[in-house]
């Protein structure tokens, strides 16, 4: 795949279709991949990488990149295309300035999952028939591939590309995922249990803003939490309330816009399952206002910018679930 | 526990003077009377209204003034707007003094001094000028070139006219950007006026004003034959803690709040261009 992508990129650079390529760059170890922009065939040959660790969603970079001179080639995985489509819908990207090549997606690996097994001193990771052979300074270790995949990939919602100029490989289908299982599990807990669960999770927050800054839906020119005039600005979670406030409002601001790409949870240095907040909104929207997948198209009205005269009342919250 | 510099003192505003349409000068004393703390010319203090904001201002009054401190403050943000709206008797918090000072007791001693200021840039220099006036014997010739947008925008105009200009051994040259009724003085920008006046290159220069004025004046001074080592300026950039720890005012290996705000131009030249 990597080979095909490099060739495609070189071809599009050569024929002038694009003048830049956004993709992923090799790091120091097997897993520390950095999104990067390539401008020449040489750079592509020496540094471009696409493997089991290239999980970063590059669509958010296109907000900035599409405003530069010329056209950029972006390799988008199925989940990334939803993010990009949503950005088109919100007029955050200029579609014409991006040439999209759809590529097959994951499952991608999560280095944290490998390390959590106590495997350390990692020098190389190889996937042999869905068994990971991990070369470390302490000797070789193995673990099953599927135990090391990213949470977001484990509950993949779609293998379909919703926007592209061309595809490498076959397009997939929207999947029947189990992505709401954990939300449901929480819903079925008692209020006290839910409260304890979230307090434990959110108290880990160090307000590094990684979740916000990586989020393709969070592209505000100035975030309310950075704006001293907004009245809610804060830099560090000085109090448990502020942890709640930040994550509730952030989830609310992306409600109906979040494509469930899972980047927030992937990048959280404190392993907070932030995607559950977004999925809760998605699940509610689906069940109360009809199935809606943000980013699936560029024209439909977002659920929060829309209404039905016979929508349910807010009291529905009081009537269902566990108190 | 020892007092921490981050815990401020209380200052009482005992006098407010409208200097120009957007500059007011505030007189601050400690609640018990007298100065809140001592300082040297060029040093700064952090003034704050809790809940509104805290910001660094240069102390405008001379250390030789034993009764009070003064701050000339231009209205430009949230805190300064608040300060401009307050009445006499209001308490504020004050901490400092912060930063270095103009080397009035070392390098500047015995020198002929040329002060060049534009607009509110006079505020930090006023402290030095009055210090020099009070210790007149320690210094040589004193010349002040001061310009502003208009006559109304000249800070401390009354003091300049009534005291400085009547002083022997101090020469004051004023200029305003555009002609104005009731103004028979010089009209023109400060950098040009400096060149016109063609000051002796033996003088040590202290300059403060808008960045663009400093840039052109410095160029002009160099044309006249001044060396960077002869010219001092003062910067007031994004200071927060005042003690070189919070990291905000870091430029290269210097912290403006601690190593500055007074720099000689040759020192500035060694810093990365991030100010």
């Amino acid at each position: 795949m990597q080979e095909a992508m490099i060739n495609k990129a070189k071809q599009l650079l050569a024929d002038g279709t694009v003048n830049r390529v956004i993709g992923w760059k090799r790091g120091e170890f097997a897993y520390d991949i950095t999104p990067a922009v390539f401008e020449s065939a040489e750079e592509l040959d020496s540094e471009f990488v696409y493997d089991d660790f290239t999980s970063a969603n590059v669509s958010k970079y296109l907000v900035k990149e599409c405003k530069k001179e010329g056209r950029i080639l972006a390799f988008l995985k199925p989940c990334d295309t939803y993010s990009f489509n949503q950005l088109i819908k919100e007029h955050r990207v200029v579609r014409e300035n991006v040439y999209i090549v759809g590529i097959p997606g994951g499952p991608k690996l999560d280095a944290e999952k490998i390390k959590a097994k106590g495997i350390t001193g990692i020098l190389g990771v190889k996937n042999e028939n869905y068994t990971l052979k991990i070369d470390t300074v302490y000797g070789e270790e193995t673990m099953p591939f599927y135990e090391a995949i990213l949470d977001k990939c484990a509950s993949c919602k779609s293998k379909k590309h919703v926007v592209y100029d061309e595809l490498i490989g076959e397009d997939g289908d929207v999947l029947d995922s189990n992505r709401f299982d954990m939300v449901e599990k929480l819903e079925n807990m008692s209020a006290q249990e839910r409260y304890d669960f979230w307090r434990e999770q959110l108290s880990k927050c160090i307000r590094c803003n990684a979740c916000r800054n990586v989020c393709p839906a969070c592209t505000c020119e100035k975030c309310v939490f950075d704006n001293p005039n907004s009245g809610v600005e804060n830099k560090a979670p000085a109090d448990s309330f502020e942890e709640n406030m930040f994550h509730i409002i952030r989830a609310f601001h992306v409600a109906g816009r979040c494509t469930d790409c899972g980047e927030c949870s992937r990048v959280c240095p404190q392993n907070i399952p932030l995607h559950l907040l977004n999925r809760k909104f998605i699940k509610d929207i689906n069940s109360l206002y009809g199935e809606y997948q943000a980013g699936e198209d560029t024209t439909s009205r977002a659920p929060l910018n829309d209404y039905n005269k016979d929508d349910c009342e807010a009291s529905i919250v009081h009537e269902r679930g566990v108190e | 526990m020892n007092n921490d510099t981050l815990i401020p003192y209380i200052g009482v505003v005992t006098d407010i003077r409208q200097d120009t349409p957007d500059v007011k000068t505030f007189r601050v004393v400690s609640p018990e009377g007298g100065k809140v703390f001592e300082h040297m010319p060029g040093q700064c203090a952090m003034l704050s209204i809790p809940g509104v904001g805290e910001a660094m201002f240069s102390i405008t009054s001379s250390p030789t003034n034993t009764k009070f401190m003064e701050f000339s403050i231009k209205k430009c943000g949230c805190l300064t707007t608040w300060l401009h709206a307050m009445d006499v008797g209001q308490q504020i918090t004050i901490r400092g003094p912060y930063g270095n000072a103009f080397p009035v007791e070392t390098e500047l001693k015995g020198k002929d001094l040329l002060f060049i200021a534009g607009g509110i840039g006079l505020a930090p220099l006023r402290s030095v000028i009055n210090y020099v006036r009070d210790k007149r014997a320690n210094y040589g010739d004193v010349q002040v070139i001061y310009g502003s947008r208009s006559k109304d925008d000249l800070v401390d105009y009354k003091e300049i006219i009534d005291e400085w200009m009547t002083d022997d051994g101090i020469k004051v040259d004023l200029t305003i950007d555009n002609p104005q009724e009731g103004w028979d003085g010089h009209v023109g920008f400060v950098p040009n006026y400096v060149k016109e006046l063609n000051p002796s290159i033996n003088k040590t220069v202290l300059i403060c004003g808008p960045p663009i004025m400093i840039k052109f004046t410095l160029a002009g001074l160099k044309e006249l034959g001044f060396k960077e080592t002869q010219v001092y300026t003062t910067m007031e950039l994004r200071m927060k803690c005042g003690v070189g720890k919070c990291g905000r005012c870091n430029i290269g290996n210097k912290y403006v709040c601690k190593d500055g705000p007074v720099f000689r131009f040759d020192q500035l030249g060694e810093l990365p261009d991030e100010y």
Binding site: L186, A191, F197, G231, L277, Y307, V317 | -
Partner: protein
């Protein structure tokens, strides 16, 4: 609010009322001298759709024990559609607060028309009672703001 052994817990209720229906409804319950507890403090907004979830969280942060949002009946919004948006926003917000384990009876949306002075008073009596039963808001307060 403090729980004092000698004193019954008195919750603080913030009520956001739209100018055209519910605020007028509240006025009407005043005109008709229909009592409701002093715990309820009303904030006037042009339309229920003006109420940002941040305002609601802010109220809880600062020590409110319950927040109620009142607007025109669906279909009667002075601005045609404002309360329809309110309904969706608040449904989702309340659902999220519930998801985070915040007691669901601390929040409520009620449609009160300009003519429903009696309903306004009854709603406020009932809501205050139900919040009183929950006790002080502890799960969504800012400790720094707690009254000593």
């Amino acid at each position: 609010m403090q729980v004092n052994e000698n004193k019954e817990f008195e919750p603080l209720i913030v009520a956001f009322c739209c100018n055209w229906c519910s605020y007028a409804g509240a006025d009407l319950s005043g005109t008709n001298r229909l009592n409701y507890p002093t715990n309820v403090k009303i904030i006037r907004v042009p339309c229920s759709c003006r109420v940002n979830p941040m305002f609601i969280l802010r109220a809880f942060q600062r020590g409110a024990d319950g927040v109620i949002l009142c607007g025109c009946h669906p279909g009667d919004c002075h601005y045609t559609s404002g309360n329809y948006f309110t309904r969706r926003r608040m449904t989702l917000l309340f659902s999220m607060l519930d998801f985070l384990g915040i007691e669901r009876d601390r929040t409520r949306v009620e449609w009160v028309s300009a003519a429903e002075g009696a309903k306004f008073a009854a709603t406020m009596n009932e809501f205050t009672e139900s919040v009183k039963k929950l006790g002080p808001n502890r799960r969504l307060e800012d400790l720094r703001c707690r009254k000593q």
